[in-house]
């Protein structure tokens, strides 16, 4: 359990660093980012800020969970069981695998359909598809070597 506590402690510090970085980025948006003239610029900026703040909130929830686990042995054991539970891991693996296959299929379909309306969008979707496929191939190669 001490080894796991070390892992949680490192994860806690990493997330704190991420929060500090995010806060600095959001502050930079507020201080320098709003000097836009078009409505589209405002929209994009608002969306970016929203994504950052939303992610920040989720990280804060995670940090609080880790903080509680580091203080309380029972909470640490509960977190350990939740993370190492083999059924949960299987569900996670199955979900990720199926989701990736569906995403690849839908992106391929979208790239073809978008080709009838906009070449730029179609090429972008094909690029996304290529990157996703490349990541999948690399991951498969890595796990083939690992196990």
């Amino acid at each position: 359990m001490n080894e796991f506590k070390g892992v949680i402690s490192r994860r806690f510090k990493l997330l704190i660093s991420v929060v500090v970085l995010f806060v600095l980025i959001v502050l930079a948006f507020f201080l320098y980012g709003y000097e836009t003239e078009s409505n589209l610029g405002d929209f994009v900026l608002g969306m970016q800020t929203g994504i950052f703040i939303g992610t920040l909130a989720l990280i804060c929830v995670k940090i609080n969970r880790l903080r509680l686990a580091l203080r309380d042995e029972a909470a640490l054991k509960k977190l350990y069981i939740e993370e190492k539970d083999e059924r949960k891991q299987l569900i996670e693996q199955s979900t990720n695998s199926l989701s990736l296959q569906i995403i690849l299929l839908l992106t391929s379909l979208a790239a073809v359909v978008a080709g009838f309306f906009s070449v730029t969008v179609s090429i972008t979707l094909f690029a996304v598809l290529a990157v996703l496929s490349l990541v999948m191939v690399i991951a498969k190669w890595y796990y083939n070597r690992k196990y």
Binding site: K77, Y80, I81, E82, D85, E86, R87, K88, L90
Partner: protein
């Protein structure tokens, strides 16, 4: 896969939560094992059998056709 987990638990007056904590899984995993929705790994099967001071074969039923035809 069929198992005697529920029977052994009731016999020893142990809750799903207690068994789950003892073998390091969530309560939902024990429920799934009892409902034959999930097949335990070798390590988990060993831990459960050891918890009841039995062998794996005493707790889990390996008489399924699928296993025997391999």
């Amino acid at each position: 896969m069929k198992s005697r987990i529920q029977e052994l638990r009731k016999k020893n007056k142990i809750s799903q939560e207690e068994l789950a904590n003892a073998v390091g899984v969530t309560r939902q995993t024990i429920t799934s094992l009892e409902n034959e929705k999930y097949v335990a790994s070798l390590v988990l099967a060993y831990k459960i059998a050891k918890y009841f001071h039995l062998t794996i074969e005493d707790v889990f039923d390996f008489s399924d056709e699928e296993i025997n035809t391999l």
